[in-house]
Subunit: 207 residues, 2 copies
């Protein structure tokens, strides 16, 4: 992973990983780009190109070894992350996410959570602290935060950034701004719905 990976490829890696896991579960041992292509609906060439950015993962005349591929993907992605992730805001959604915390062992789990009102939250499976003590309890080297708060979003973000957070996965519906060296990914169901609706409508028009 030394070369710069196109943004779009980056978006496809998780798709591959997910599909490969499923295939493994189905007992598939080897796969070739053309089969995988049908499975994930991405052209074989694109797949091979994407894979080749990580290394020579396949064997000519044979295909790719599923286990090996999963291994390599996880490692390659994992190198880049023994990553400590914190969850900010333990409301309904935050709680639901924590229950997911066994995220397929795809990445480091959520290390701890913060909330403005930690006393009124039931039992959760990670340590929970007051958001005001973020500086104090922030795990060493933690750079990534999942943002689930519903109030004071901008203020919270500012505080996180001041304390070294470099990447935010945003689950609020609020808009906020960050310095340019901080990366945000929006996880927004509403936006996704809009996009799907739009696609469906475009299809309709064509017919």
């Amino acid at each position: 992973m030394t070369r710069s990976v196109p943004k779009v490829t980056l978006q496809r890696y998780p798709i591959y990983l997910k599909a490969l896991r499923k295939l493994k579960q189905l007992g598939v041992k080897k796969i070739m780009s053309s089969e995988l292509a049908k499975y994930v609906d991405i052209l074989p060439t694109t797949i091979r190109r994407d894979f080749s950015l990580i290394g020579r993962l396949g064997k000519q005349g044979y295909g790719y070894d599923v286990d090996e591929l999963i291994e390599i993907f996880s490692n390659q992605l994992n190198i880049d992350f023994d990553e400590r992730i914190v969850l900010i805001g333990v409301g309904n959604l935050g709680k639901a996410l924590l229950k997911y915390n066994n995220w397929d062992h795809v990445l480091g789990e959520v290390t701890c959570a913060f909330d403005k009102d930690p006393d009124n939250i039931g039992d959760i499976n990670v340590p929970l602290y007051n958001i005001n003590d973020f500086a104090k309890y922030k795990p060493q080297g933690c750079r990534i935060a999942i943002l689930c708060v519903s109030e004071n979003v901008q203020e919270t973000v500012n505080m996180l950034v001041e304390n070294g957070i470099k990447g935010i996965v945003d689950l609020t519906h609020e808009h906020f701004v960050v310095p340019e060296d901080v990366h945000v990914r929006y996880v927004d169901i509403v936006s996704s719905i809009i996009e799907v609706v739009f696609e469906v409508n475009e299809d309709d028009r064509k017919r």
Copy 2:
């Protein structure tokens, strides 16, 4: 919206819409591409180009009218409040989503929910039916489903598709396949985290 809109532009529309709503709420009446640019972190030219695909929305020497823009976007995107959306699978996550149901009045709320075990679910704020009765209780004209099940994913998807679902917003971690006229958007926190981590790491390397 007669011309085909680039995929990437499509992904930006919801970002614009969200930002514009926020601006409106703050009392902003007009905005120019350069201001909006700082706000959403997209270059002014890109913004203007994206907008121009819909029509001549702005006024030279003046900028864009916020209200008007929101209006046009919503219309053009066909994000009516009429869109009937169903939720499939009312587990932790599904329940958390239902609590969000007042999605900023951006689009139609979730009309009803389905689960394989509707009796063991507490109080929720929409009608709840057994997934086996989907055909019976599916709202008229409903095309969009939010998928939150954790088991029998493929089977569930097949059933939905057979019953006229054309767009799926997928919150499972499972891989599944759909006919090509069905559109899927993955909402996957794990993937998002992976992407953010990548970006942060890439930044690190550059410095």
